[in-house]
Symmetry: D3
């Protein structure tokens, strides 16, 4: 039985070999980017049995994504190939260490054509936790339907649902996003909102109100990500701040996915929510030490060493 399953678009990511406006950049280097596969990779590195699926084009970029994710030890046996569409790609642009600009070539991509008929229901059922990001339902109507179909299967089979809202206003408007994401939230057991996302979805701007609201909506565990400060975890029974690790940040992209993976790893090991939060903070912090979306996620030994060296809130 898989411990975790994720699904959704992973793209080939072209990183500029120099900073500055892209028209002045001569060369680009290839890697992969995708929140869903990030979470699966981070969990596989920590020793968990993780699966990820999506749809890629019948092209070199699709094969590259497949091999890269598989190379990390994630099960990709349900990845589909779509002969009628290309694999999505994106370009980053970096100016002066600010957040990178992103140029997408993903409209009509193979992944955006993921549909209910692509699902292997038995495979999905055989899972402890299904982690959903708010990116997948934004890709297309069929992707949205697919997400809800997976949620339905999960619900029917008592699978834990984990949800990271990941609001991407480049893909849909807030008006479109809000009802969909709230509906997913209602079905989730664990939710990982940020403050800004709480504001967009609920109109609430602090961790306490945000978590209260999500608990009311039926979530069992609400983990409000507070960036460098750490996180605030709330269940019916417990509510507490868990202080983050202080590190010299190199690149924050992928830190949120790492956080979720660190937390879920704790859940899979039946750690306390507090310990889950510390672990989430640690993986998130380690992700920022290294350039790249997923390169910085630690192996289990590395995570333990880091948590021994650095102090969380009360260790």
């Amino acid at each position: 039985m898989k411990e975790v399953l994720t699904f959704g678009e992973t793209m080939v990511l072209f990183n500029p070999q120099a900073s500055g406006p892209l028209r002045f950049v001569e060369g680009f280097s290839k890697s992969i980017g995708g929140a869903d596969s990030n979470v699966a990779i981070a969990l596989a590195r920590l020793g968990h049995d993780a699966g990820w699926f999506s749809k890629v084009g019948d092209d070199e970029f699709g094969r590259y994504i497949k091999n890269t994710v598989r190379g990390e030890g994630v099960d990709v046996s349900r990845l589909k190939v779509d002969k009628g569409a290309s694999t999505g790609i994106l370009f980053k642009e970096r100016v002066n260490n600010a957040n990178p600009n992103v140029y997408y070539y993903r409209a009509g991509s193979a992944a955006s054509r993921l549909a209910i008929e692509d699902l292997d229901v038995e495979y999905i059922k055989d899972t402890k936790i299904i982690h959903i990001t708010g990116i997948t339902p934004a890709l297309s109507e069929s992707c949205r339907e697919t997400v809800f179909k997976v949620l339905e299967i999960a619900k029917e089979n008592g699978i834990t649902i984990s949800f990271d809202p990941n609001i991407r206003l480049k893909l849909w408007t807030l008006e479109e996003a809000r009802p969909v994401l709230l509906k997913i939230a209602e079905m989730s057991d664990i939710i990982f909102p940020g403050i800004e996302e709480g504001e967009m979805l609920l109109g609430l701007d602090n961790e306490k109100e945000i978590s209260e609201k999500f608990l009311e909506m039926g979530c069992k565990t609400v983990v409000v990500k507070l960036g460098e400060k750490g996180c605030y975890v709330a269940t019916k029974a417990e509510k507490e701040y868990i202080q983050g690790f202080q590190v010299a940040t190199e690149d924050t992209v992928g830190a949120g996915d790492g956080f979720a993976a660190g937390f879920l790893s704790g859940v899979l090991k039946n750690l306390s929510v507090r310990e889950c939060g510390i672990q989430g903070n640690a993986v998130g912090a380690m992700a920022t030490l290294v350039k790249g979306d997923m390169e910085g996620y630690p192996y289990y030994d590395q995570l333990m060493a880091f948590m021994g060296n650095k102090k969380g809130i009360d260790r």
Copy 2:
């Protein structure tokens, strides 16, 4: 008054920094690719007053294309920016020096949204030769309409129409392409088919029959491109083979566009068709000496030096 005007999609072209399947290629270098701008650039290098227009996205890749074409001395004052679409891009893949594979990301590109309302009629009128490629009508319905609108303006204003069929079966089927391209051919004064194109459009497989047929259809000058062998030029009055230049080929992409530009340069200088053909052969040959689509097109002095060093059919 402009001497030549071209229009149609120019894309940012990503060249692999190593040969082999793209999934194993780490880096890519940026340049531009587009048959229409190639012809304009080649003519500008030869000292002609050339204009090119298209539509690009409001993004760095669009600005890069604009600046590159403008940098070559082509008038880009009518290039449009489309805030609702991206600039098209493509990737090349080279295996063992065979013709490169191409991966397009151009569906729905800004250029494919070029439409009649984007035309500056007065600007178009003020031109001696309008050169059309068969790529533009393949991009979209609105592009097709735009091509015919331009042809109409040209016809009404006595502008010479030059046409290179450039059949791209990745963009449309032969069934879709044939009637459109034949209709353009009928309106053209000068046409630059290859043998293979003659076969696809007319079902004829040799230069003599192909040129005869196009002359019948109303073309005044038919220039059948014969690759390394040179070309066969036919008008009502004259018909002759013009032998090509023997060179050590490095990269043939862009050679056909260079050929057309070399020929049209001769037309603009009122050279004999024979001299036009020799000049076309020379620019085409020089284009193959250098890696890249348009990097090898010569300046006028370089062309003269090359034609002095190498012998055409009877010099």
Copy 3:
């Protein structure tokens, strides 16, 4: 009618691909460098009709400069090619983020041979503002004469003269420079000194005395550049400090030229001196956000967005 005209040497600039003493640097990347073309490029990006001329060698480096400046939309129709001299080049060396060392290969360069007979008087007359840098008269005797000839034409034709002293002690001694630069200053309508330049030229070390002195000498507008702090603008009528924008600086080369361009753009739009100063500060600040001499100059929309996001002295 051109809005702005600049002239003077632009060189090919070789940037080390690694920091440290150049003898340990394996690779170098090519770009262009020149204060005069910088100002023209920055103004063209902001939407102005700008021209620049100089003299380059009949070589690939000269063609590269021509195409790059032309690609930015600057009119280069009066750029001369000198068959008897090479295009000047320079190498930068970076050690530990300090100001780069510079190694010039420009002695006897084509640009240093610019002379009065290279001038197209009618072209010069057809200009609103002529911007002069103190680099051009330092290059050679003939360059010096050319500068004064242009000043004479400007004076006779009521063209506004803008002047940035740009004292380069690698090119001439202060003893040589001072009388020449002061003579140019006397003829200028707008002058852009820094504090250090004021000290070298006038022996005065604060913005108030410096601007007073230049006003006395006949300048109508004195803009003392104060680096990150902004600028001090003085006319007969008004005198005020205009606070700079706080940004995370990446590379300060080219900031002064951007400042002048931003200010002159305001002049061309009849903005108040205060608004001109804010705009100069903004372009100067944006230039420092990006590595490279001219890569960071903004398009007009980008400038407006930046000025909206960041606060100038009283906005």
Copy 4:
């Protein structure tokens, strides 16, 4: 049940970024090299269920090898990590397109410490074909013992044994190698010698005698590799030449491993020996089209397309 199992050292391979003596080469690019993993990868690309194991150091190079082989779809679940030794590496040096020189750093490597106690006997039993290369027994005494233990398990369990002698005189002398390799040959069902290897092992210099001798020794199928010419296949029942494919060779390294994989793929599909040989020739030829050891191995569809386009001996 796995279809094929291979085991033996895979190293990180550093390719020079330029040709010439290594002391003048500034940069090196990383990939992997290993005959055993090559065969497993080539078979996995063709759609077979392949496993490979070895021992790597507890270091980044070991993790890189694991992820790369796993990324290709090969089962690496039995790969061991040795905390007391490093992962072996090698450097290539290319001068003028001749065969590259190789510099090894593999003495005492983790893989050379592979020993009988590292074997998972149940895992080994669950295999149709075990492919052995003559490199593994050359690495160390414990590797030699491991090879014979695996052979013993295979024999006891009716697993087909495939053997490629791969004589490496940089690792042992011919005197050391000959008795060991002949002993393995005697236990093998399928053997893939080259002419030169036949000469070294048997003192015979033509394919007919070589195959006769190996058949006498008990091999059921002898496949003598003849390079570009193809191969000669001999069983008790059949003997025939199978002509190779003519291609423009880019890099021959890895072609022999590809040949073996192509042949074994046919065996797994119960193709005739003739068809197996054609398939071996095809994969070997395709491997040479691409720079790199294993980058050129085809996917099944690509193999079929290639065999359709190119003609083997009688197609």
Copy 5:
């Protein structure tokens, strides 16, 4: 007569072309690394007559080391070539600007086979100062014997012995290292311990006690390196702190060797210990300004300029 002689292993050092875990690094650049050759190079740059010897493999990496050290003006006439072993190499890994990880491939290297019979006794005798690092005796038994043989020759011939403990716990345990290093210390005239080394060797954790102890053991000058703070120098007669130079550090590797070289340069010029210490501080600081182990060591003029610009303790 040589002024200084050093000996010991120098390796080819492969620097990652990107930061992050090495499995994600595509390219590596070659340079050299070795504490003993660093000291010799730094002294040669300062104008001294320095020699260095070691043993390298009969391979390109050995030739590269020889040419690089010789290129710096160090006498390498006694460098031996060992046909039976490889030149040692190492890889660096950089994560987030922390101290780099190091992966060695040096076990059994040519240098580790340096032995007493490789010594040219007359050459050694003809030296003013012999500088020993604690790395050489850690490499092998024969290296350890070689060190003591050299010490014996030095003692017999009145050559000044300089010693930098350089404890490398990757090469031997502290238990192995301590008695050896203390024995060398007892024979040394000048010793350069750090605080941490004092603690490991003597169990003392402050510069005063450490230097007192070494003076007792017979050292004439003890120079305790205090990193950015400078150093503490103690002789029988004088004891004082010498403040370091404040610089923006880029890379600290090689700074300690530079310090020793700067100090010894002063000794060779008969400067006071105070002046020697200032000079050591300066060379050490300059080394940190530049990426790379030895690239930052100054020429004499550069050192003088630096010491003029920056202030030492009382200048």
Copy 6:
């Protein structure tokens, strides 16, 4: 006593990182180029005691040249540094594997200011062979005088004079060159003309007449280089053709210098002229196997191995 002494300009050479017109080349890599230092380096690699001197600027490029030549084992103790001039540089441009174009930045370079007062007469006297190239007298009046002063010293001291005409029409006209080079020829013991040089200097176009003429002028040994064909050697006593080695040429630059070095190495070992010629042919051929001016010159062992593998005229 030095075996060979050369002197003359060595420049930093910037190689384009891609082929094609330089305006399209993004990056350049640094190496050194100079016929005189090439000969010295080639001889040093073969084990001879060689010296080279020149003048470089007080800059990083000068230091780079010094260290590179010294690194090859050539004595550079008489290399002068000129604080008033820059080190010369050049750029290569490669189009389609033809001979590269060259762009010089050497006018007024430090080396061109080499003058009689830079000579160390005692150092020059202490030499067996002085090798002169026809490049040095082309650089400047003072260089010309220096060459003749050295010739005078050589003559007075019975030093063998070797001369390679190396006519460079980019540096002087044939009219200027001819009398100077003939005057040097008259003073030379060994001369290495090519056929084309014979034609330019003597108006003779075959090896027999050319050598006859030089023998008449007083040369003792005339070695006419015949490229791939080998050479023709003539003395009063012997005259013969010596066939060249057939190799796959990669880059011919530097082959002539290697030829001269190979021949002179034979002279220094008192080989027969025939053996000298074979050795010259071999070093010249090996130089062409490797990209770069001097990278391909062999070590003595490599030369012997090559001459054993390949056959010269009668071996």
